[in-house]
Amino acid sequence: MNAEQIVEAVLFASDAPLRPDEIARADESLDEDRVEVALEWLRRHYLESDRAFDLVEIAEGYQLQTRPEYAPYLERFDTVPKPSRLSGPALETLAIIAYRQPLGRLEVEYIRGVGSSGVIRTLVDRGLIEVVGRGEGLGRPLLYGTTLRFLEHFGFRSMEDLPRPEELPIVLRDRNSPILPEDEEDGNGNAPDQEELELEDADGEG
């Protein structure tokens, strides 16, 4: 048995991406460097022998995945786990959290302009985001950040794979500036609404 075969066996049996240091735990003869070499050899071996799967770098680890052109065949089976797709609001919320993490629900809602508690709960349930701390402010709001599962879902190797802000046609707000305007940052969110509604009434009468 050589290192390549051990690494292959571990990858074959795992249902989640594995980091080289995790794979190295399989045998005393392995260390991270040796695993890296074996991984590279396997990657090229699968490519050259034209396998239906290849070795993919994903979520800070490695994983065997079928190649995209075989999707139509696999989709016919109930016994094959189907990668599920997220809804528009969920994607939007996830994008905001991915770029601005850690941040709380109120900030997400301010950026999106719509209530987001349900979407956030769904994302937490699906393991795509998690509570990473508590904010300062009133009630010490929960702060959310993305998980490894998030990288896995989108096929990203790491956060570096996310589209870079400078590539985008529009420039994001400076990361260090507060998202919420001053008057809403410490309120409970309803007070400003009240004020605005009164203004609206005044306008209507005039």
């Binding site: 995945q65 528009g88 302009g113 529009i170 707000r173 609206e200």
Partner: protein
């Protein structure tokens, strides 16, 4: 259920906006601005506010959840519009009232862009399959229905329930393990050598614990009764529950036309006592049923056992 509101531009160029198409007020606002090629850093706030209100008008009160978000934005726009009308103080650091809205719009536009890219990445990723278990498909959740009933109703319903009457009317056919023929033969056999014998002695070979003990007793008694009816033996008992004695028949020959007349005196030749307390079947009032078929064909020793009648059976026609 696509809602729509007519958005009237300042110059009267009306167009239709479907609120449902938008993820929120920022999405709608961006749409209005981008569609009309408006410089986002110099938004004509009055025009945009009117258009926005026009679009929002279509939202019904039933959709209050999403309506609230649109109305909140409407209020923000109106506030900005009002602030724009006020004479502005001369200080430099006082921001344009539109500035925060512009920042939000730009940021939201960027989020929208990133979302689209992530959606493409997700689609690409979903064409690759990995090894791994299939999560059990979620079962449909059963709603918790509160118990809207009182105990009185529960008890009432319970009392109303009619349980089906279970009648076991299966007729089980089981082999008769002890035959009356054997018992009749045994009795006659014993009487060949003995003048009289106690009923009890016929059962002596069988232990009381034997599950078939009762059957032996019943069959022996039936055989005795049958032989009596055919005038082959006498049964005698001095008093109820006393020992039953069996004697050889001493009287007219059994074969001559006896069928109809099993008279009491033939049973008890020595005294007027009824032959025995158990032989109800032989009371004079009891009509002897029609001569069974076997009586003619096999008049003698062998007594087939099937047609044993109880007095409750309907008597056959003579």
């Amino acid at each position: 259920m696509a809602r729509s509101g007519t958005v009237e531009g300042e110059r009267g160029g009306g167009f239709l906006v479907e609120i449902d198409r938008f993820r929120g007020p920022l999405d709608l606002l961006l749409h209005l601005i981008r569609q009309q090629d408006i410089d986002i850093f110099d938004i004509p706030i009055r025009r945009i506010t009117d258009q926005f209100l026009g679009a929002v008008e279509g939202i019904r009160a039933a959709d209050l959840d999403s309506a609230g978000e649109f109305l909140e934005m409407a209020a923000t726009l109106i506030r900005i519009k009002a602030q724009m009308l006020l004479p502005r103080p001369e200080s430099d650091d006082d921001e344009d009232p539109r500035a925060e809205l512009v920042r939000r719009l730009l940021e939201y536009e960027q989020v929208r862009e990133i979302t689209q890219r992530m959606e493409r990445a997700e689609a690409e990723r979903s064409r690759r399959f990995t090894r791994g278990f299939v999560e059990p498909r979620p079962r449909p959740a059963v709603d918790d229905v509160p118990l809207e009933t009182t105990w009185d109703e529960v008890f009432g319903a319970a009392l109303d329930v009619t349980l089906p009457v279970v009648v076991d009317d299966t007729h089980r056919v089981t082999p008769r393990t002890v035959s009356m023929d054997d018992k009749a033969a045994l009795i006659l056999d014993r009487l060949e050598t003995e003048h009289g014998l106690e009923f009890r002695t016929l059962l002596a070979p069988f232990a009381h614990g034997d599950p078939e003990f009762r059957m032996h007793g019943v069959m022996t008694l039936l055989a005795g009764l049958e032989l009596t009816r055919r005038r082959r033996i006498h049964l005698r008992q001095s008093a109820p529950f006393h020992e039953l004695w069996i004697y050889r028949w001493e009287g007219p020959e059994p074969d001559d036309g006896m069928a109809e007349g099993a008279l009491p005196d033939t049973l008890g030749p020595d005294h007027g006592l009824p032959a025995d307390a158990t032989a109800d079947d032989l009371e004079p009032s009891d009509p002897i049923p029609a001569k069974p078929a076997w009586d003619d064909s096999e008049p003698d020793k062998t007594i087939p056992d099937p047609p044993i009648r109880s007095r409750n059976d309907p008597p056959g026609e003579p």
